[in-house]
Symmetry: C2
């Protein structure tokens, strides 16, 4: 092992005890300004940095927070949350440990092994993760601040958007353009956990349709996870059902992108033959001219991280509050008034 300057080196060089060095460097009271300044100088010269492992032992604080997300593949959304969180965490000297739950079984056990994670991080940030009641229980037992970004999870504080409202905004836009035969693509048929995001968006969609006197047609609803591939499959399914809606509300931009791609493959022009609205304002959505209900995912990550830091600082577990951040309709070129099929 190469020389690693430790606290004793600094203490020796400064002619004080390690206790004083520890207090001085961490800004604790009870150190004269002169001494503190001198110690700082020496620490800087020596390039001394306290070992997080060593500091974690007596304090129980690791200086790290975990960001847990499902299936790495789903990509953009989770990375954006993580980027936002990481931004504020790093600025506050915290490390971030990323846990991706790809192989469902294995990794889930690992992540929610309270012992494991509790010894590793001071707080947890979960992104759009379906959780069982037992898992929520385990998280509480961890006795560490937890935030979830995405859905409301009973018993856990979260940062989210109003998904029903999202569904309303998208559908109102389409309805306002005169569309009445509007398909909905979203919802994971394999979801056993009642993950509410897509269902809520669908509720908003259904509400608005009924408000204009249209009963939502089950034949116009197709399931789709939050991926481009699911969007492709969703449109294919609609097409196979022989329904020909004039508009499509996709539960996410990625779903919308896939659906648009598949639609074009069938000779359906967008927006001439089909108007499409997505959700998220994915980084690439503007390239597709995609109209979307935008959310600031990175900001959500930042807010969640900030709340976590606050809880850590105050030592208070934090209320189980739900912070709802605003969304905004961004109209681009994938939507247009109904009945204008002839360009």
């Amino acid at each position: 092992m190469v020389e690693m300057t430790g606290i004793v080196d600094v203490a020796a060089r400064a002619g004080v005890s390690v206790a004083t060095v520890s207090r001085a460097l961490r800004g604790l009271p009870g150190v004269s300004d002169a001494t503190r300044e001198q110690i700082r100088q020496i620490a800087a010269e020596l390039g001394y940095v306290a070992s997080p492992s060593a500091a974690a032992l007596p304090t129980g604080r690791t200086g790290a927070v975990a960001v847990v997300s499902p299936v790495a593949t789903t990509g953009w959304y989770f990375n954006a949350v993580c980027e936002g969180a990481q931004e504020v965490l790093a600025a506050n000297g915290f490390d971030v440990l990323r846990y991706d739950l790809s192989e469902v079984e294995t990794n889930r056990r690992r992540v929610f092994d309270t012992q494991l994670l509790r010894k590793r991080v001071d707080a947890l940030l979960l992104t759009s993760l379906p959780l069982t009641p037992e898992e929520v229980e385990a998280l509480h037992a961890m006795n560490r601040p937890v935030m979830v970004v995405g859905p409301i999870v009973s018993g856990l504080p979260s940062v989210r958007i109003d998904d029903v409202e999202v569904g309303r905004m998208a559908t109102e836009h389409l309805v306002g353009l005169g569309h009445r035969e509007i398909a909905f693509a979203g919802g994971d048929p394999d979801d056993q956990l009642g993950f509410p995001v897509s269902p809520d968006r669908r509720i908003g969609y259904a509400e608005v349709l009924r408000e204009v006197g249209v009963e939502p047609d089950p034949a116009l609803t197709v399931p789709a996870k939050f991926t481009v591939e699911a969007g492709v499959a969703a449109f294919a399914e609609l097409w196979a059902r022989d329904v020909r809606p004039t508009a499509l509300f996709a539960a996410s931009d990625e779903v919308a992108m896939g659906a648009m791609h598949e639609a074009r493959r069938h000779g359906v022009r967008i927006p001439e033959d089909l108007s499409v609205v997505g959700v998220d304002d994915h980084d690439m959505s503007w390239l597709f001219g995609l109209t979307t209900v935008a959310q600031d995912v990175r900001a959500e990550g930042r807010i969640a991280a900030g709340t976590l830091l606050e809880a850590l600082r105050s030592g208070i577990a934090g209320e189980t509050t739900v912070t709802t951040v605003p969304t905004e309709l961004i109209v681009r070129s994938s939507t247009r008034p109904a009945g204008q099929s002839a360009s």
Copy 2:
């Protein structure tokens, strides 16, 4: 602090010393099978997991590796590398700490503060990071395994693709289609560090052009960082120069996407008026029908992580070897023979 079962609890319950528990659980020799099995059982019952911080102190091993990437914004590529790396790292029980170098000045200092990082992680994985000689020096001084994914960095082992060959493949494809006026978009004009990726791709491009008797025209080369926005700007620049190439080789798919978008805005049809080739096979490239020189970025991350684990396991610093992974041309609909402008 809530009850955290520690090694003493397990030892007490098993009626053995903590030393034996430590050895048994880590699979070290010198423990009878019966004892080991019993200890395992008890540890499982109690949900005991060794504290990484506590274990790190005597061993100097944190069980974590850092994945360092520049500017979070550049997105896809770095996330893909990280996903690949994380996959193998997590499978081997390692945590991954992500460091994004967004605010250049500040974070760079932070990350390359050898003391800081050395006390935090056992190994380092750098993605496409321009490094100064001093930084390479600092990395060596850290005395920890380091791998870089992307460019060859003198003195550091890396996993990369043959960028000159990439340039050749893309250009040969276009030349083979009969194109001779081929633009190149790539290279960061602000780069002070001689980051070789784009320049190498350009070398391959120039080589192939010369081989068919065409002297590369400086007017057909425009700078572009690896972003969609840069691609937009690059095409705009070409357009402003009043050059009208029949094909464009973009240094990355994101650049290509931006360029295609801007081209269409100017009424340039793809591929009728302009053939476009990118590099990477970005997750979304197929949606654009983009012809590209594909690389398996996640695999590169996996390989780099595997090498790191091997170095950690063997204790050997590892050769400064360069692993070159293959690339493959994927032809889609953004390229077509020259001179077929009339559709």
